[in-house]
Amino acid sequence: MSKTKKVDPAAAPWQGPWRKYDILKEGVIALIVVALLSVGLAGIFSSPDEKALTFQGWATSAPENFFATTVGELAGTTESAGYGPPYNEGGDGVSVGPLNMQKLMGVRIPVNPADDFVITPLSSSQQSQETVDALKAWKDASADQQAAWATAFDDAVQATADEEGVLDLTKIEKGDYGPVPVLAGALTDMATSGAYDGVLLAQDPNGFYQMDHTKQILFMGDGSYLDDFGTVQNLQGNTWGMMNETGSYPGQAWLWLYSFWYQLPVFNALDDADPASMSAQLTASADALIFYIMGLLTILLVLLPFIPGLRSIPKWIPLHKLIWRDYYRSIRG
């Protein structure tokens, strides 16, 4: 009596002819080849290393922008101030339908731009009497008064912009701005002298040892200095920047598919697009949507052996005939 059982023939031991193979020899040769290739590439092309940007560099090369960004931090109009979780409650974060993971995770890395970027650094080092008085006036004022001063001055500063957005601080209209102009001026001076780079780093609760640069990155990103650097180096997201490195070096080219989605017009609407338009709404949620799309594609790739249709593509498009051409020729013969 015969017994029927299911076996997968591709799992069966190979019964055909064999060829000589030396796994250790292949491994050693591969290692030598890759090592030599790496030495050759490193010797010929070196590797990128653009010096880190500093607040001193920003305040020196673009003092108007540093000044205006400082005012924006006090007024709460910068990207950091309106970011939302995980840094603060300034915004709601990115939603995809009813799902807002950003908000759900809450504020885990607290950043208060006005205090952390401006008031605390100014308060933690020796200042002129004028700045000391301005700090006292700011701290003694109510939140509403602070907002009124800072917002009015922020508007006045932005009103000096020409058609290309270049500010002219000599044209600021007179008004009741309280201590804000003095505070912004003092921080700009502090940054220009180079003192701000160290002070901002040292204000972490841990003080002496500091490895968290959240505040530095957020503040620097609020101005145009870092953004201009990204544009000059061709690193912007809408120009495949995710895959690029500084200079002409290859970056994370393997992120091409992730970067690809950001090039699509639906995820890349212009700033002046109608906010009600679909592309503007998709662009607003692009960071989350693209992450989820990539997550889904990754799951499909992992589970590909079990997905009908997808797993049969190699059979329908017979590139394997090329890979195993000798084998197919031999069985035809």
Partner: protein, 226 residues
């Protein structure tokens, strides 16, 4: 007393202990000629097969050059020509690693290499690719130069948007550095070892249609009579 003596003199039944079961399984799944083969089926004759071993070779160069970079710390390469050269070696070996790995992945896709109970081999390969992406990403984050400033500023938005940024803070250099030089390479290494052992256990996938009535799918089976 007698019982104690007997318990030491009586040999345990085969497969009676965890150790014995593990040893028996290793011996069954990975006998020496499978673990270190000196022959392969005749169909294993294409340049595409070289890319798996090239990927591992590149990984070894990546790890070796990374270990040298750890000796003097993350900012060494900014101020030392020797350090910069090792940074360049690390940089280019990573580029080679990904080129080889992607070619290997595409090759295995077109071979439908998950056939014949090899789905876990495919899965561990893809997972090692994904963890390698994360490892390389943290490397780009901890360059401590203008590029890493830019990448951290841009990358935080994607991770924050899905809630990951609250736990994995790309602007925290200490966190990214430890992930890059310790946790993630360890995970990549372990998955790659598992992947290679699975390749050795199952052997190289035979050509599509090498067996009569053989389906391309991994889970499909053919009826045979024994």
């Amino acid at each position: 007393m007698t019982a104690e003596v007997e318990s030491h003199t009586v040999a345990p039944a085969p497969g009676d202990t965890w150790t014995g079961k593990f040893r028996d399984r290793v011996a069954r799944d990975l006998p020496p000629d499978k673990l270190l083969p000196d022959r392969q089926p005749s169909y294993v004759a294409s340049w595409i097969y070289v890319f798996g071993v090239l990927t591992i070779a590149a990984l070894l160069v990546v790890v070796a050059t990374g270990v040298v970079l750890t000796l003097e710390g993350p900012e060494w390469y900014h101020i030392s020509d020797v350090g910069h050269f090792f940074n360049s070696l690390h940089f280019w070996s990573v580029q080679l690693f990904f080129i080889f790995m992607v070619v290997h992945l595409w090759g295995k896709f077109w071979m439908a290499a998950w056939r014949g109970r090899r789905a876990m081999t495919w899965i561990t390969g893809v997972v090692s690719f994904i963890v390698s992406l994360a490892t390389a990403f943290t490397g780009y984050l901890m360059q401590t130069n203008a590029d890493s400033q830019w990448i951290t500023f841009e990358a935080k938005d994607g991770l924050n948007a899905v809630g990951i940024g609250a736990w994995f803070n790309v602007t925290n250099l200490g966190q990214t550095m430890l992930l890059h030089v310790c946790t993630l390479p360890l995970v990549v290494g372990l998955i790659v070892v598992l992947h290679v052992l699975l390749v050795r256990k199952r052997g190289v996938v035979p050509p599509i249609d090498a067996f009569k009535n053989e389906p391309a799918a991994a889970s499909n089976t053919a009826e045979v009579t024994s």
